[in-house]
Amino acid sequence: MDERRRAFEARVIPHLDAAYRFARWLSHSSVDADDILQEAILRAFRGFDALRGSDARAWLLTIVRNCHLTALEQQRRRAFVPLPEEHDAQDGRAMVADTPDPESTSIRRDEERTLGRLMSALPEEQREILMLREIEELEYREIAAVVNVPIGTVMSRLARARAALKARWLKETGGEPHAVR
């Protein structure tokens, strides 16, 4: 193993789990999350020289988010390809696999929990910031770099996300104030 690879394993690979969680939150699908994560790690390795003194975790999460956006863009473009006409609605349904892999089942289980489900109903721009703050415990400055918005936007989105979650929560728990579950 060469020196560069060793340095990469020492500085970047410790953040693999954070990158994995972030990819899952972003993509909502374990299969996509796996591909996004692998692509992100490869891109990070190719661009490792650019990391220098900056924070490796925020840097890696930025790359994960970028890979997610690229994947999204590709999916959107593919979605424009029309199905052949003889495929009626029923055939269309049959094309969707109905035996989910164990991992996507576990994601679904996460989402069945109240909070997880409420959180996944948030707009993506709020969800990713709340996730980076509360789960990965990033500072505002780091979140701003990952999401590529000014710090003021981070603060206002965070406030909106928290307010929205609370409102949904109250609705879910029948208006009982401060009820957690």
């Binding site: 060469d2 796996d34 994560l37 390795f45 970028n66 909070l115 505002y140 918005v149 406030a159």
Partner: protein, 268 residues
Amino acid sequence: MPCAESLRVQAHFDGELDAIGAAEVERHCETCAECRELWRDWEQLRVALRQDSTHATTPPALRARILRALDAEGAVRGSHALPGSHRDTSGLADWRSRPFWKGAFSAFGVTAIAASLAFFVLAPPISNALLNDLVSAHVRSLMPDHLIEVVSTDRHTVKPWFAGHADVSPVVADFEQQGYRLVGGRADYLDHQRAAVVVYQHGSHVINVFSWAATDAGWPKNTTRNGYHLSFWRAGNMVYCAVSDTGWDELDGLVRLLQALGTRDNTG
């Protein structure tokens, strides 16, 4: 209408304030019931979220797959590294320590082969990724609210803005008389750096001019992807790329204006 201090209270909650700011916020909370309630909500939410999140870790199979992919990537880099880079010397040393290669080629020959392999093997995927990134960034910029972060037709506003938001400081000018109106700027993540993007409008078309610090890898040739033209050039230590769905002639018009300006900036 939330309390005007609520964002500052939130900043304290997130540990973002210094001691003085924190003391001010705490004094405010003593008299503001609304902010006290917000604080309690956030605390409950935090506890619940941290309990609820499964703290998922990367499955071992995925981790192994990724490390294998890194091995493959490292092998490509090691054997076909660009000549002159520090990686080349280690790659060369590995090769020459193998008996078969000993004396079979001069150092020059090995370097030449490595260089040509690097050109054919390395260049296409790297520039492909860059081209994809550029087109994606351009398309993304056309979605609502993604185009511009600093809105201004004044280059004296746009250029300083980049100082805090991007790793490079590109040439910025308004060419309204020539038909290219400066509408603003944006920072984008590109080629592993914070690239600066200057946004121009030409008729109904948006032209994004990306710029980032040049690397040894050079820059791609002008090309067309998914209907978008990409025109590359280098000025000083930066690479520029103009992306748009205008015709080549219209795009070239802006490129020539910017190139002329870049030359002036460098000499003057």
